[in-house]
């Protein structure tokens, strides 16, 4: 599937899930997610992660609805608990079907998101390790002056943003020097298209999903 098309489907389903009270729809999303993961030969760690990470929030919401909802609505408690899993699997459906760079390329070529956003984000994402060490450096440096910085200390963000201001300037200059002009046409080494059957599948998927939501399933 084309990443943009997939993203649109996933986002529509995500919004719809937020407003429905159908356990079956949540379970459907979870099952589809599992099938895609099986098909993509996900390793056991991914399954474990997807099972464990939502566990606590799901339990949390189940208990609080069971105790404190008007009329101790157990059905709704199950809706919410499975919904949290459904959100996670919606994410999995997407991440196991495509990659970040493919998605960004598709958003540029198919969804026509301004290139300034696509490449600005992409460039900044390479700085994750540098940002980590900068935060670490700020903490150690403060310690050497007799100060302990906590996550709520303004200095931590302040020092980080100072570095970010400098990096954003350097990166933007370098990208300009490499010929990047904001929102100007570019050629593409690998052209990404939306095959006709993508539309067909989308309509089918969304139709089935509506059937689950609106036909009075529990």
């Amino acid at each position: 599937m084309n990443p943009t098309v997939l993203l649109v489907i996933v986002l529509i389903c995500g919004v719809e899930l937020s407003f429905t009270r159908v356990i079956a729809a949540n379970v459907l999303v979870i099952l589809v997610g599992l099938v895609i993961m099986l098909f993509r030969r996900a390793n056991w760690r991914s399954y474990l992660r997807l099972f464990l990470l939502p566990l606590l929030p799901a339990l949390g919401v189940w208990f609080s609805l069971a105790y404190f909802s008007v009329g101790h609505d157990i059905h709704f408690a199950w809706v919410l608990a499975t919904r949290i899993y459904a959100y996670s699997f919606l994410g999995a459906i997407f991440t196991f079907s495509t990659t970040i760079s493919e998605t960004l390329a598709s958003l540029e070529q198919n969804a026509h998101i301004p290139t300034t956003f696509v490449y600005g984000m992409l460039a900044a994402l390479n700085f994750v390790p540098k940002i980590r060490s900068e935060v670490q450096k700020s903490k150690v440096s403060a310690q050497m002056r007799g100060i302990t910085l906590h996550f709520w200390s303004p200095q931590l963000l302040f020092k980080g943003i100072l570095a970010a201001l400098n990096w954003s300037e350097n990166l933007a200059e370098a990208m300009t020097s490499h010929g990047f002009a904001e929102n100007q046409p570019r050629t593409h080494y690998s052209v990404i298209q939306i095959p006709w059957w993508n539309y067909l599948v989308s309509i089918l998927v969304l139709a089935i999903f509506q059937m689950f939501i609106f036909t009075g399933l529990p």
């Binding site: 809706v79 943003i161 970010a164 990166l171």
Partner: protein, 190 residues
């Protein structure tokens, strides 16, 4: 104090906001463990949503920060969407659904600056923005998190917990950081 800034989005702005989003992610990564611990503690009592609302301010900081750094129409919304995209890409807990909540949070925060006509980026605007963020995200969570199903007292308590958290991080802390930046003359002012 500031001249009205152009509303065009330049490469440098996008990079800066994405870097800032990653930065907040890195700084608050540890807090996720705190959140999990808190939720685990509160779950058997049926009070887990309070854990969520107590730290929600951390996830909504990107919007007011972006608004103050760039002072453009839409910077809060776009800043928070970028932050949630970063979160989704770097493997946040909720993947794609963070994109949706990112939009809702950004929009909520944006209103605070819209109501002050994008002219003020002081404690007043930031507090107003904290209030609009709370109202918008809370309304959304009445459906999404099923808050509407709770008893009245719990809904009210959750609302004020959330307001407190968003004000502490999104107004008080952001204001402290922005004051430091302004005093140091490192924001591109002219």
């Amino acid at each position: 104090m500031h001249e009205q800034k152009s509303n065009a989005w330049h490469l440098r702005d996008v990079i800066l906001l994405t870097l800032t989003a990653i930065l907040t992610g890195v700084i608050y990564f540890g807090v996720v463990f705190l959140y999990n611990g808190l939720t685990a503690l509160l779950t058997p009592l049926g009070l887990a949503p309070f854990g969520n609302d107590l730290i929600l301010g951390l996830w909504t900081m990107a919007a007011p920060l972006a608004a103050c750094l760039l002072q453009k129409v839409g910077s809060a919304t776009i800043g928070e969407i970028l932050a949630s995209a970063v979160e989704a890409i770097l493997g946040g807990q909720w993947g794609i659904s963070t994109l949706i909540s990112g939009f809702v949070q950004g929009f909520g925060s944006e209103l605070g600056f819209t109501f002050t006509a994008y002219k003020r980026y002081d404690m007043f605007s930031l507090s107003l923005s904290a209030l609009t963020t709370t109202i918008v995200t809370f309304t959304w969570d009445l459906f999404r998190e099923g808050y509407a199903a709770y008893h009245g007292w719990m809904i009210i308590a959750l609302f004020f917990t959330r307001l407190l958290s968003i004000w502490l991080f999104g107004a008080l802390l952001v204001h402290a950081v922005v004051s430091l930046l302004e005093r140091s003359h490192m924001l591109r002012a002219e």
